[in-house]
């Protein structure tokens, strides 16, 4: 295009297509990945943006493969991966906006965490001084400021996880990907990391967290992608997914000393279509409408004067969700 040297005439029409305001951070378009005869992933269609999303699946479901495709560690056999609209395999530029916390525990044990974060921050284009400032900031964020001049080789597992997270956050990324961040951490470290992840989600970043321990994802986020055997089994809000599975009844487990009497009282309730007594003192109520039953249950219990020690909703968690979707009943 020749420059307009005369500077006369009306302004030229913009020929560039307007870019959509908010590109989804992560797009998987009909992505499949095959290793020889093993289909690690097939027909993955995902667009993820904003907030914390949990990637769930049993071991071998394809979670790590998904992240490897995203981080340019391997190439999709079919389909396209887009990170902020760019194919990461061809162009590593989008990594400037991404922070990746890998699963592997291997770090450079001879470096101090300060050195580690600083050195790799400079690969984002920081100068030495900028990198040092940013490193201090993120190490403070993950509570490692006091030990940041100790070699990583002396850190506990939880501290190593936090170093990895700090390293991922140093460039203030818009997308943070964490591959099984809670494995091997003690409860204190787990709480810290979960708080960090929730905080990041609240700040408006897109966060992807993968895990096979469903309880911990539950405590971080409600938005999940469920992978099973390389395919997306379910997508969306945990509870919403559960609600949709109306064919399978919800269960309410009540621990009470007078099981038989309670069963008789409950069976007449609306929306209850089955009651079981799996063992002495435990009543298992089957219903299609959890909310309605829970609304009326307290009055039934009070009227009957039952001494209830525990009420559980065993199905309303992710283990059961997967269990149901994958095949077979709940717990």
């Amino acid at each position: 295009m020749m420059p307009d040297l005369g500077q006369v005439g009306p302004a030229a029409e913009p020929v560039v297509q307007p870019v959509p305001e908010k590109l989804p951070a992560v797009v998987f378009d009909q992505v499949g990945k095959t290793y020889g005869r093993i289909h690690a992933l097939s027909q993955i269609n995902l667009a993820i943006s904003g907030g914390v999303t949990g990637i769930l699946g049993l071991n071998g479901a394809g979670k790590s493969t998904l992240f490897n495709l995203l981080m340019g560690r391997c190439k999709p056999t079919t389909g396209q991966v887009r990170l902020f609209g760019i194919d990461p395999w061809q162009d590593p530029t989008p990594y400037g906006r991404v922070g990746f916390v890998p699963e592997s525990e291997k770090l450079h044990d001879w470096m101090t965490s300060f050195d580690f974060v600083t050195t790799f921050a400079r690969l984002h284009g920081f100068t030495r001084d900028e990198a040092k400032v940013e490193a201090e900031r993120v190490l403070d964020f993950v509570n490692l400021k006091e030990v940041m001049h100790t070699p990583i080789g002396r850190y506990s597992k939880g501290m190593r996880q936090r170093v990895k997270i700090a390293h991922a956050l140093v460039n203030d990324p818009d997308l943070i990907v964490l591959d099984e961040p809670l494995t091997g951490c003690d409860p204190l470290a787990r709480t810290t990391i979960m708080n960090v992840v929730r905080e990041l989600g609240r700040m408006g970043r897109t966060v992807l967290v993968s895990s096979h321990i469903l309880g911990e994802i539950e405590r971080i986020t409600e938005q999940i992608v469920l992978l099973h055997r390389g395919q997306v089994l379910a997508l969306g809000n945990v509870h919403g997914i559960r609600e949709q599975l109306d064919r399978i009844p919800h269960r309410i487990l009540i621990h009470c000393s007078e099981g038989k009497r309670l069963a008789k009282a409950v069976i007449d309730m609306e929306h209850v279509h089955g009651v079981m007594i799996p063992s002495e003192g435990v009543v298992d109520i089957l219903t299609h409408d959890l909310g309605a039953v829970h609304q009326h249950l307290p009055s039934v219990l009070i009227e009957g004067g039952f001494k209830v020690t525990r009420i559980e909703n065993p199905d309303d968690d992710l283990e059961s969700v997967i269990g149901h979707l994958v095949g077979g009943g709940g717990r």
């Binding site: 400037g96 291997k106 284009g125």
Partner: protein, 392 residues
């Protein structure tokens, strides 16, 4: 903010970061220090032998029986101009004062009686043709020391520095540049950044060169100083050899570059890429000896070390323009019949002709270009392999 960095931009910051990281990684590894120390010890031992030899006195022998010692210094011509240049002087008059006819006094048929000329051999090198009874009484001390000194410079430079440093430093230090990171699963810290894979290769290479180039330069400078001061000849320091040392340094640097690229790329290609590097190193060892024994062999044109040693050979012709005549003189049986080994034997073995019939600078330029070309080709191969590598 850093997030605006693209691949192949902000080069200085990324390059220095990776290079510094590489250097620090080397520093923490025991193997780096062991390797550098072993090289220093090995080369230092050889230098000690040199110093010892330079301090030895050489006995003078009255070769031509005229009662005087060592009348003949380096009076041979400095260039091989076949039939015309003559040298040699019939000190004791055996030839001149004999009553043979002129034809019998000019057995080498160059039109001058009682002299010697330099003639090129068909298999390379030159030889001296003497007229009958022209005896030389060489200055043993000068020739033996000079020959030893020159042989040492060439042998030490070619085998000790260019070969030993040039091959073993990359073998130890360059193979793990990429493969080491892949094996220890820390590669993704380098790759999941706005940095192209080719950049990673380049900067790792840069870090490696920042270690080995100064280290080898230090060895060369130290050796040059030691041999410069301990060398035979007038003057405190021998400046004529500096050209050779520069050539040795250049050849070593290029060897370190090409071998480093090659071994790094072998590491990229296969997990056990080093299994190929080891026989290759042994093969290059053979090539180094071939370059000294049979320098015209075409096999040398495809090896790396052949070209590196060619730089030194070309520089030898520049710095020591009388080398060929010197070798011819110091290996001549007639002159050295009293010694067990003529002083020029080892020098003759260690000296080779530069590969092409062009000027010495031309040879050096060609060799540099070929080596840089080899490095470039290897880098292109390495980069494309690395780009296509999954789960690196």
């Amino acid at each position: 903010m850093g997030s605006s960095t693209k691949a192949w931009s902000g080069l200085d910051r990324k390059a220095t970061a990776v290079a510094e990281f590489t250097l620090r990684q080397y520093r923490t590894r025991l193997s780096t220090w062991v390797v550098l120390a072993s090289c220093v010890v090995a080369l230092g031992t050889v230098l000690l032998f040199y110093i010892d030899a330079m301090n030895d006195t050489v006995e003078s022998v009255d070769n031509d029986g005229d009662g005087l010692f060592d009348e003949d210094g380096p009076d041979f011509p400095s260039s091989v101009d076949a039939t015309s240049t003559t040298f040699g002087y019939d000190d004791d008059g055996d030839c001149r004062e004999s009553d043979r006819p002129d034809g019998a006094k000019d057995t080498n048929n160059n039109g001058v009686v009682c002299d010697a000329i330099l003639r090129q051999n068909w298999f390379g090198g030159s030889a001296i043709l003497w007229d009958n009874d022209v005896d030389e009484d060489p200055n043993e001390e000068y020739f033996v020391e000079e020959a030893t000194h020159r042989a040492f410079l060439l042998g030490y430079g070619k085998l000790g520095i260019v070969f030993l440093l040039g091959i073993f430093l990359p073998l130890f230090l360059a193979t793990g540049l990429i493969r080491g990171e892949m094996t220890s699963e820390t590669m993704h810290f380098l790759l999941a950044k706005p940095i192209a894979r080719g950049e990673v290769l380049l900067y790792r290479m840069l870090g490696y060169l920042t270690l080995v180039w100064p280290a080898s330069a230090a060895v060369v400078v130290l050796s040059a100083l030691v041999t410069g001061f301990a060398a035979p000849g007038e003057g405190v320091f021998r400046f004529e050899d500096l050209g050779i040392w520069l050539a040795i340094l250049l050849a070593t640097w290029l060897a370190l570059l090409v071998y480093g690229m090659l071994f790094m790329t072998l590491g990229v290609m296969w997990k056990y890429g080093i299994v190929l590097a080891i026989p290759f190193a042994a093969w290059e060892f053979g090539m180094a000896f071939l370059s000294m024994g049979l320098p015209s062999s075409p096999l040398l044109r495809v090896s790396v070390i052949g070209w590196c040693l060619a730089i030194i050979d070309a520089a030898t012709a520049l710095s020591w323009s009388d080398q060929e005549a010197f070798i011819a003189y110091t290996t001549d049986y007639a002159v050295w019949s009293h010694t067990v080994v003529a002083p020029g034997e080892s020098l003759g073995f260690l000296t080779s002709q530069a590969p092409f019939e062009i000027s010495a600078t031309g040879n050096i330029a060609v060799a540099i270009l070929v080596l840089l070309f080899q490095a470039g080709v290897i880098w292109i191969i390495g980069q494309s392999l690395f780009k296509g590598k999954e789960i690196a």
